[in-house]
Symmetry: C2
Subunit: 239 residues, 2 copies
């Protein structure tokens, strides 16, 4: 059975402007590989309603799961929840369960549960809340879309809340061999090996170190025995 | 006049699998902001012909410029040039100018200019070559698509070759203010300020440091005087 496939949508002007370096995609990619729901595509869009809606519709339609990051805070540029509602044509409003969570949180801290903070309780349709143990304001899952915060430690906590609820596939295994030769030297035999193992994915990643060319050869797949077999041949070729 | 807008397409299994952390998008985003061609969208796809072709067509059609990274080396998983040719319906073959560059390079180094290395001279249609001072194998520009290598130092060298040939807009300026308050406290007045300056883009980026909430408030735009004026008001509100 083929593994389910995931996409990610990173939302925020600050990443596209070069101000902030995204770390959530790399983190999610690793976690998804482990549970066998490989990340097949990622998109980054600005804080723009139409762009977010279009990306959600395209990615939620094309993949088994869509994970989003960013745009669910209390400020005017946090527009992800509304975009998700618009993408699926479902209503959005302050949901009682999210309001209760946040009211209790601000009450404990002696802080005002003002209008801006109440904005974080706006949840589309009958979405399930995603637990946020760090700053309480929840993410949510609507159909196959998992909406999470952009702040990396909160994003990671939400990923930890969501992933155990998903049915994964066989974990994506990988093995690699580092060779002190340029890609041009290994390309022909490596390509022939890849052609002989169409069930595995083989990639070569060149680097330059101290002025010398080298290549990392990586084999990926879900069948450990096949991976071992191909790796043995690779080592005989270039080891 | 509105600034031209750019998109980026990052190609490669190694980034989506979580093995490698992309650095090219962050680099390009910063360079493009400086020359006033802001990055409006980025996509990451695997080494998959159909996915690359579809992304090139969508992004080259929607934006003034498309920059790609990855997939132009000598190995079997380097399929970007063919995808660009397919996306535009133009022929691709070993181009004499690229062959001459590479033949001279390998000759100087006393290395065989084998079939795999010749693969890097496959250039679609009448694309203009992009200079690669590091490893010689050129990138290319076909219409509004700039095709570059994935290895970061080569990518950066190619960006330096391409950007001076483009007609930029007004540089995107940004100023920021760090406040020791959570987003929920500043959201209302900050949103009102943003509404009063629709020509500027204002974003708030929360962080947690030593257990305390803080927020970076950022104002972006192309008109320095307007930016200064808004920044002064921001400082009066929260400084």
């Amino acid at each position: 059975m083929a593994n389910p496939r995931a996409a990610m949508l990173v939302i925020g002007d600050e990443i596209l402007s070069g101000r902030t370096r995204d770390t959530n995609m790399h983190y999610l990619a690793g976690e998804l590989s482990r549970i066998g729901i490989p990340l097949a595509e990622a998109r980054f869009v600005a804080d723009d309603h139409a762009a977010i809606v279009a990306a959600i519709q395209a990615l939620a339609g094309a993949y088994d799961h869509l994970f989003t990051s960013g745009g669910i805070g209390p400020t005017h540029d946090d527009i992800t929840a509304d975009a998700v509602a618009a993408a699926f044509g479902v209503p959005i409003g302050h949901r009682a369960d999210a309001m209760a969570l946040l009211a209790a949180h601000y009450d404990r801290r002696g802080m005002e549960f003002n209008e801006a903070r109440q904005r974080m309780a706006r949840i589309p349709g009958d979405a399930a809340l995603i637990d946020n143990p760090i700053s309480i304001a929840p993410g949510f899952t609507l159909r196959n879309v998992h909406v999470m915060a952009g702040v990396p430690n909160i994003f990671q906590a939400m990923v930890a809340s969501v992933l155990p609820t998903l049915t994964g596939g066989a974990p994506l295994l990988s093995q690699s061999l580092r060779v002190d030769r340029g890609e041009g030297e290994i390309a022909q035999p490596f390509g022939a090996l890849a052609a002989a193992y169409p069930d595995l994915s083989m990639g070569s990643y060149p680097f330059i170190q101290n002025g010398a060319y080298g290549t990392n050869l990586v084999i990926r797949g879900t069948d450990g025995a096949r991976l071992d077999e191909a790796m043995l041949k690779l080592t005989r070729l270039f080891g």
